[in-house]
Symmetry: C2
Subunit: 410 residues, 2 copies
Amino acid sequence: MSLIVQKYGGTSVGTVERIEAVAAKVAAARARGDQVVVVVSAMSGETNRLIALAHEITPTPSPREMDVLVSTGEQVTIALLSIALQKIGCPARSYTGGQVRILTDNVHSKARIQEIDGGRVRADLEAGRVVVVAGFQGTDEDGNITTLGRGGSDTTAVAMAAALEADECQIFTDVDGVYTTDPRVEPKARKLDRITFEEMLEMASLGSKVLQIRSVEFAGKYNVPLRVLSSFEEGEGTLITFEDEDMEKAKVSGIAFSRDEAKLTILGVPDQPGVAYSILGPVSGANIEVDMIIQNIAEDATTDFTFTVHRNDYPQALKILQETAEVLGAREVIGDDSIVKISIVGVGMRSHAGIAATMFEALAEEGINIRMISTSEIKISVVVDEKYLELGVRALHDAFELDRPPEQAA
Amino acid sequence: MSLIVQKYGGTSVGTVERIEAVAAKVAAARARGDQVVVVVSAMSGETNRLIALAHEITPTPSPREMDVLVSTGEQVTIALLSIALQKIGCPARSYTGGQVRILTDNVHSKARIQEIDGGRVRADLEAGRVVVVAGFQGTDEDGNITTLGRGGSDTTAVAMAAALEADECQIFTDVDGVYTTDPRVEPKARKLDRITFEEMLEMASLGSKVLQIRSVEFAGKYNVPLRVLSSFEEGEGTLITFEDEDMEKAKVSGIAFSRDEAKLTILGVPDQPGVAYSILGPVSGANIEVDMIIQNIAEDATTDFTFTVHRNDYPQALKILQETAEVLGAREVIGDDSIVKISIVGVGMRSHAGIAATMFEALAEEGINIRMISTSEIKISVVVDEKYLELGVRALHDAFELDRPPEQAA
């Protein structure tokens, strides 16, 4: 007998019919002998309907009251799913976040889970019941309702799985798993049977939005095996797990990309200690997140310093950097907001030389000019002109033979 | 500085615009220097929408899960009203029933309040905040969400007022107060400035559905002055309070009536101990509520026994009574479901003779035949043929000069 936590998102519970379909899936898992905890989101559209009601009153409602308001969305779903389960003879009981109890900090609308009391849930499971938990919500120490932010139901599911020491946390979505890259860009993209947490984190942070990044971090931290699978189709999905023998065979697991990039360069800054801080301090002070940072070796006692930001932050970052240039007596500030980032990700590249060479060669063969390069232990990222995105992704997918299962790959 | 509990029903908070109008009323009370607790219902239509969702799944959803489901209705309103109050500069904080905490028994969908912890609410009031409480809901000892049944928000308001020792509990409705009788039947009906709890109970139980009867009982029991007034019009409404000097002047305060009556008579039953139980036992065993019961003196060692029931229960009650007649060897069972009950209500009649005579005279003058009579300390009820309802109500309204304020009445 295994203990499974299943999570169904808003689209999967978007209508009463779909809720009944979810009930059938859950009951089937229980019939196989598993103990099941189900975490659900609000019915799709419901959260937006509630937010619109508040915005009819004011564009700036208090975060505390917004949490009271939107948390009703998941509460409706847990009741309806429990009713649907009971109808087909499957004992079930619903819990709000506060009832579980899921204790969070008091940062309304983006609270973080601090502790979960699994006692009541465990007692229900022992009594043979399915436990249906409202995702996305908790209460702080004073009993105020909090929410984890949009997509937070994934985090609830992983946290429940960790607290209950579940055997697996299954995230049901509208895709059937994690792919080697976005199939809309490369039709030959292949579903992965397995991926490591580290790879998944790199993929997610680079724009493959299958899972909320915090839930993946959480799962990794608490050793919760995580599986992504489809609400609508049968299949094993993709298991996100720890590195194992088998996975070593694949040097590169997937290709991630991000369209929302912009880069800025400050030219001819004095090459002296503290200059990096002088440049980036004002940027991060304006709450602008900086991604890649590159500083090349200095010539003539001056150096060039380049970094990338989200495209939305480009105009503000440019203005800040121009002010900094004046202060530092730099030569010039240049920027470009029509760039993209393409990354190859794989735990296998740790132990294999030549991956970077293969990557650069494949891009060169297509005449794609590389504007920036940045590497981490399991990732190599390049910045290229926007127009090369699709071509670059397909060239790399081919070069690393990602359309073939790892056993067959070179 | 007074402490006021205000309650607004579903129609009063039916749209965002109406919620903003309620916010203005609440803020005005606070601006007058009062501490204000507001109890609200779900937006009109919302509870039915939620019930319909559950009924799409099954006609017999579990009461526990129905309470989880429908309690979200009030939770939405408390958040929106708090947001609307904050928008106009009035500090406010919302509380669900569980957050207050309103402790109830565990009878889902018709729970009774057992205890209210006023601590958190009092702290907010002291800090200058308006407190917005979800009506109709609480939690049981195990933290399960319960509801008080439809209309239960009135009960929540009165219970909050009792727990906080409020100076007044104001129930805002779509009528501007309690009338001497239904103005749709007697256009000369007059709004009462005051009425006693006992009178209000008799009026409510006889079909004047301004307030939920349990909330009036509760207010009487805990000495909470209760005021009924309009959400939509200005005015002082009607104060429901304890008997005082002033009120003695009115012998009859109002005329209540009920259209949903049916009467049954069993003729020629043996006049012996236990016969009343033999007749009524099977009726109440079938969960049929019996209202008036009349047994006249016996002649020839047999007696006749008459009682009234709700018109919906008439066919079943008739069937049961026919079976009983056979067992007891009674002569005959007769019944009539085209009757109505008209009652005059007033604490003043305790100390005044001749009220009944005036009543019977007024009806006789209109040629209305009285079929049954029943009296209590502050009420005289008669059963008459359905067709005489309007005529009877108007005749009695005239006879007791209810269109004139009490000081001027004879």
